[in-house]
Amino acid sequence: MSEHAAQIDRHYTTTGIDSRKLGLWVLIGSESLFFGSLIATYMVYRGQSTVGPFPHGPDGLLDIPLTSVSTFVLLMSSLAMVLALHAVQVSNRRGAITWLLATALLGAGFLGFQAYEFTHFWHEGLTLDRNLFGASFFILTGFHGAHVAVGVVWLLILMTEAWRHRLPASRALSVEIAGLYWHFVDVVWIVIFTLIYLIE
């Protein structure tokens, strides 16, 4: 019986992959299509605005230095996330708490940059219904920001679990799954940063 239970635990699905992990990858697949559609919309409406403010050009709104810093912050949060996973896998509770908190704080920092950017754009006259750039930009980056916010809450819950001694090495998969979500949010930003900010 015990051997049987161990087999069930190690082969959750007929594929040999843990069902939670496979489910998260399927979610990531569907999220790829979701963000793909939003990016496609942005690309189609790119350069079609008939009234300002415009993203690029002499009076362009996009602040590349500021967004470069926020991009760096999000990339470093991914590094902190994998270090948190490693800490949980080697039963380093203090390390797990530290790196999970660092990841959440870096994610919150990224959201702070985004809140500043949105507020600045609003003061410059760019709203959701001002022009096609405003509509497609706020929808795309807003949905990305919402995903980051969900990730921050998820990370804080895991950190609380580690704090309460409820995140042993046997539960490392829970951290790995949260990490997969977090890294996906990061790779989506890599694409957004390139297509919206760096390519005029």
Partner: protein, 112 residues
């Protein structure tokens, strides 16, 4: 506690053995930082204006692949997970390319 917990522990140890070391994670983080810095430099260098898109997109793709392969462990995990992600990624890219061609290329061709 059992067998379930022990088996989970075994599973965690197996995953840990397959995953990269913290040194590799930090090295990947360093590479990501450098590539991002190069992208931003290319954006600002006027002499590269005509080439910036051709340079920045491959750099961005390399960052994307590094995160997916090493931080998301696709390089070390079951190939089925790679297939799920790649299939959806290809479909997403196809949607983007199709819509751009449909709305931004074909209308101009129709106008001659």
């Amino acid at each position: 506690m059992d067998t379930h917990a022990h088996a989970s522990g075994d599973h965690a140890r197996e995953d840990h053995a397959r995953h990269p070391s913290p040194k590799v994670y930090v090295l990947i983080g360093l590479i990501l930082t450098i590539v991002t810095a190069v992208e931003i430099a290319v954006y600002y260098i006027d002499a590269l204006n005509d080439w910036s898109t051709a340079i920045i997109i491959p750099l961005s793709m390399s960052k994307f692949l590094l995160v997916v392969m090493f931080y998301m462990h696709l390089r070390f995990d079951n190939r089925l997970l790679t297939a799920v992600f790649a299939a959806c990624g290809v479909l997403a890219i196809a949607v983007i390319v199709s819509l751009v061609i449909l709305f931004k290329v074909l209308p101009y061709q129709a106008l001659g």
